[in-house]
C-alpha cells in the first residue's frame, strides 16, 4: 500500500512537471473543488423563481453575481450545481465504459475463438457507427433521466477502449515472459490476471481520464439538445434552457458563458491530464 502511495505521488509530480499536465491538474482541481464545495456554500434552489419581471434575465449585480435566468433564478448558484451533475455523469459513464471496454479488450485480445471474434465484430460495428446520433436516438427512446444518460453514454463509448486494450493485449500476449510462464504451467486465468492485466493497467488509467472528457462532452451534447434530466440540471441542460428561452437573441451573455466555459474547461482539463498521463505511463505509444 505504501509503495502504491509512493507511486501515485510520483505520477502526480510527473504530471505536474509537464506544463500541459499542470494546467490540466489546476483546471480539474478547481472545477472538482467548486463542484464539491460550491453548492454547500452557495446552495441553489430551483424553486426560488422571480416575483417581478425586472428579475428575469437580470444582468450581474452584487446580489446575483452572474445575473438571473429566464425564471429569475441565480445563475452563479445554478452553475455551481451544474458542475456536480456534469462531473457525476462524466465519471460514472466513463466507469461503465472502461469496465466494458477493458473486459472486451482483454478477452478478445487474449482468447482466439468464436466468442472473441464475435466481441471484436461488435466492437468494430460500434466503432463504425456515428456515436453522437446513436446516443441521441437512444436517449430520446429511453427518456430524460440522469441514469439513462449515464447508461447510454457508458454503453456506447467503450469500443475505442476495447480496441486499444485489445491491441496492447495482443502484443503482450506474444511476449516471451508470457510464453515462459505458460511453459511453467500457468493457467490462462493466472496469465490474464497476474501478467497481462498489470501490464495493461497504465493504458487503462490514461484512457479512463480521456474517456471522462469524452463523456462530459457527450452529456453536454445530449443535454443541450434537450435530452438531459430536467430535474438535475447540468451545464449542458443550462445551455439548452438558455437557447430555448432566447437568451442568445437577447444578448444575455451571462446565461450562456458560465456553463459554456465550464464545459470547455472541464473537457480541456481531463484531456490535458489524460494526454500527459498517457505520455508518462505509456512512453512507447508516444512515437505513433
Amino acid at each position: 500500500m505504501n509503495a502504491r502511495g509512493e507511486r501515485l505521488a510520483e505520477i502526480f509530480s510527473r504530471i505536474w512537471a509537464d506544463s500541459f499536465g499542470r494546467a490540466g491538474l489546476v483546471l480539474l482541481t478547481l472545477i472538482i473543488g467548486i463542484s464539491i464545495l460550491g453548492p454547500i456554500i452557495f446552495p441553489f434552489d430551483p424553486r426560488e423563481v422571480a416575483t417581478s419581471a425586472s428579475k428575469i434575465f437580470a444582468p450581474p449585480t452584487a446580489q446575483h453575481w452572474l445575473g438571473t435566468d429566464e425564471m429569475g433564478r441565480d445563475i452563479f448558484r445554478s452553475t455551481l450545481a451544474g458542475a456536480r451533475i456534469s462531473l457525476l455523469v462524466g465519471i460514472t459513464a466513463s466507469a461503465i465504459s472502461i469496465v466494458i471496454g477493458a473486459f472486451v479488450g482483454l478477452f478478445s485480445g487474449y482468447y482466439h475463438g468464436l466468442f472473441s471474434n464475435l466481441l471484436m465484430r461488435v466492437t468494430d460495428f460500434f466503432l463504425a457507427l456515428p456515436v453522437t446520433p446513436l446516443i441521441i436516438v437512444l436517449a430520446s427512446v429511453f427518456g430524460q433521466n440522469l441514469l439513462i444518460t449515464i447508461m447510454v453514454i457508458g454503453m456506447t463509448s467503450w469500443p475505442s477502449t476495447a480496441r486499444i486494450v485489445r491491441s496492447l493485449v495482443l502484443s503482450i500476449r506474444a511476449r516471451q515472459f508470457v510464453e515462459r510462464v505458460r511453459a511453467i504451467g500457468a493457467s490462462d486465468a493466472r496469465i490474464l490476471c497476474v501478467h497481462i492485466l498489470p501490464n495493461v493497467m497504465p493504458l487503462i488509467y490514461a484512457n479512463t481520464v480521456l474517456v471522462i472528457a469524452g463523456s462530459v462532452l457527450a452529456e453536454a451534447t445530449l443535454a443541450f439538445l434537450g435530452l438531459g434530466d430536467p430535474v438535475r440540471v447540468s451545464w449542458g441542460t443550462m445551455l439548452h434552457y438558455a437557447f430555448v428561452s432566447g437568451a442568445a437573441g437577447r444578448g444575455v451573455w451571462w446565461y450562456l458563458l458560465p456553463p459554456g466555459i465550464g464545459i470547455v474547461l472541464l473537457v480541456l482539463g481531463f484531456t490535458l491530464v489524460g494526454n500527459t498521463l498517457d505520455k508518462i505511463l505509456n512512453p512507447r505509444l508516444r512515437e505513433f
Partner: protein
C-alpha cells in the same frame, strides 16, 4: 544411460500467409527423431533459422508439433490431458535467449521466483516457499538474496536477469531443461560465468540439458553429444569428440573447419560454405544441403543428391549422419569416400581408403 526423452519424427510446419492469399508452408522442423539421455548435455547446433528454437519449444509442448511423437519418461505427451500436461510442466523447463524479454517487467524478482511454486507447490507453507526462493537466488549467485528479491527486472543487468531466469527454471527441480542460446545475448564478460553456473547446476541437480547454440566450438566445450541441424533436419549426431574430430557430414565438416583450433589441424582445405541458406519455405529437393554442399560439388554434382533425401545412417557407435556419400572418419578429416557408395561413379578422385 537411459533415455529421458524420445522424439519420434517430429515436424513443425507453419502456414505463412502472404498478403492477398496463398500461404507458403514453412517447414521449420522436418521429421526429426532423437533421444535425449538422462543426465547428458546434448547440444543442438545449426545456423540461424534452421529450427533449433522451434524444436526446443515443440519438445516442451510450448509450440504445437504438426506431427510426430514426444515421449517423456515413458509418457506420450500428446496423449495426456491439458491438466496433466500442466502438472508435468514442472519436470521440464526452458531458459530463453533474451533475459530482457523473458521476465515480466511488472513482477518483482521475488514474485517471479515465487510464481512456479504457487502453481505447482501448493503443499508448501508460505515460509517454505520464501526459503526456497531465497535459497535459489543464492544458488544462482544473486546475493544478498533479500535485496535482489525486492528488485524489478529493469534494476538488473543482463547477466543478473539470466540468473533469475535460471533460478526460475530450476526452482521446481525439473529433470530436463532446454536452454535456447542462454548466453548469446549477454556481454562476453559474463558469458563464461553463466555457463559455469549452468554446468555446476547440471552436476549438482542431476539435470539433463538440451543446449541450443549456433556456436559449434561452444557446444564442443560443454556437451556430451552434439546434434547438427540444417534447415529443419538433423544431419549428424554423435558424441562430441566424434562429431568434432570425425565429422561425417559435409555440413558439419564445414562448420568444424572454421573452428580455429580444430581447423588448423585439418590437413585438407577449409570448407567455407558458399551461398545463402535457403529459406525454410523453399527447402531444396533431394538432399536439402546440395545447394551449398562442397562435397556435392567435388563429386561432380551427382544426381542422387538432387533426387533423394539421405536418411540418417550409423557411421560409428552412436554416431549417425545423413549423407549419401559418407566421409570416412579419419583424424585429419581428409575427404574420403565410402567405396560402396561410389561404385557407380567415375574413377574416384581420392584414395578410397584414405590411408
Amino acid at each position: 544411460m537411459a533415455d529421458l526423452m524420445t522424439i519420434d519424427e517430429l515436424s513443425v510446419h507453419y502456414e505463412r500467409r502472404r498478403m492477398g492469399g496463398c500461404g507458403r508452408k514453412v517447414r521449420a522442423v522436418d521429421g526429426v527423431s532423437l533421444s535425449i539421455r538422462r543426465g547428458e548435455i546434448l547440444s543442438v547446433v545449426g545456423e540461424s533459422g534452421c529450427g533449433k528454437t522451434t524444436m526446443g519449444k515443440a519438445i516442451l509442448n510450448i509450440t504445437r508439433a504438426t506431427s510426430g511423437r514426444i515421449i517423456y519418461d515413458g509418457i506420450d505427451l500428446a496423449k495426456i490431458s491439458g491438466a496433466e500436461l500442466r502438472a508435468m510442466r514442472r519436470k521440464f523447463q526452458m531458459i530463453y535467449q533474451d533475459p530482457y524479454e523473458s521476465l515480466d517487467p511488472r513482477q518483482s524478482i521475488y514474485d517471479t521466483l515465487l510464481e512456479p511454486l504457487l502453481i505447482h507447490r501448493r503443499d508448501l507453507s508460505s515460509v517454505q516457499k520464501r526459503d526456497l526462493v531465497m535459497s535459489h537466488l543464492e544458488a544462482v549467485g544473486l546475493r544478498p538474496a533479500e535485496m535482489i528479491a525486492a528488485r524489478y527486472p529493469h534494476h538488473l543487468s543482463g547477466g543478473q536477469r539470466q540468473r533469475v531466469a535460471i533460478a526460475a527454471a530450476i526452482i521446481l527441480e525439473p529433470d530436463f531443461i532446454v536452454a535456447d542460446e542462454p548466453v548469446s545475448m549477454l556481454d562476453v564478460s559474463v558469458r563464461s560465468e553463466i555457463l559455469k553456473l549452468m554446468l555446476d547446476l547440471q552436476k549438482d541437480k542431476d539435470l539433463t540439458y538440451m543446449f541450443i547454440t549456433h556456436d559449434l566450438s561452444l557446444a564442443w566445450m560443454i556437451s556430451h553429444r552434439i546434434a547438427v541441424f540444417y534447415l529443419g533436419r538433423m544431419v549428424e549426431i554423435g558424441g562430441t569428440e566424434e562429431v568434432v574430430h570425425r565429422s561425417t557430414h559435409p555440413y558439419t565438416n564445414a562448420l568444424v573447419s572454421v573452428i580455429p583450433t580444430v581447423g588448423k589441424k585439418m590437413r585438407g582445405e577449409r570448407h567455407i560454405l558458399a551461398g545463402e541458406t535457403p529459406s525454410a519455405s523453399e527447402i531444396p529437393g533431394g538432399c536439402r544441403f546440395h545447394t551449398r554442399c562442397w562435397l556435392y560439388h567435388d563429386e561432380g554434382e551427382p544426381e542422387i543428391c538432387r533426387n533423394s533425401e539421405p536418411e540418417l545412417a550409423e557411421v560409428a557407435d552412436g554416431h549417425m549422419a545423413a549423407c549419401h556419400f559418407k566421409l570416412i572418419p579419419s583424424r585429419d578429416q581428409q575427404a574420403v569416400f565410402d567405396v560402396a557408395e561410389r561404385l557407380s561413379k567415375p574413377a574416384p578422385t581420392l584414395n578410397p581408403l584414405g590411408l
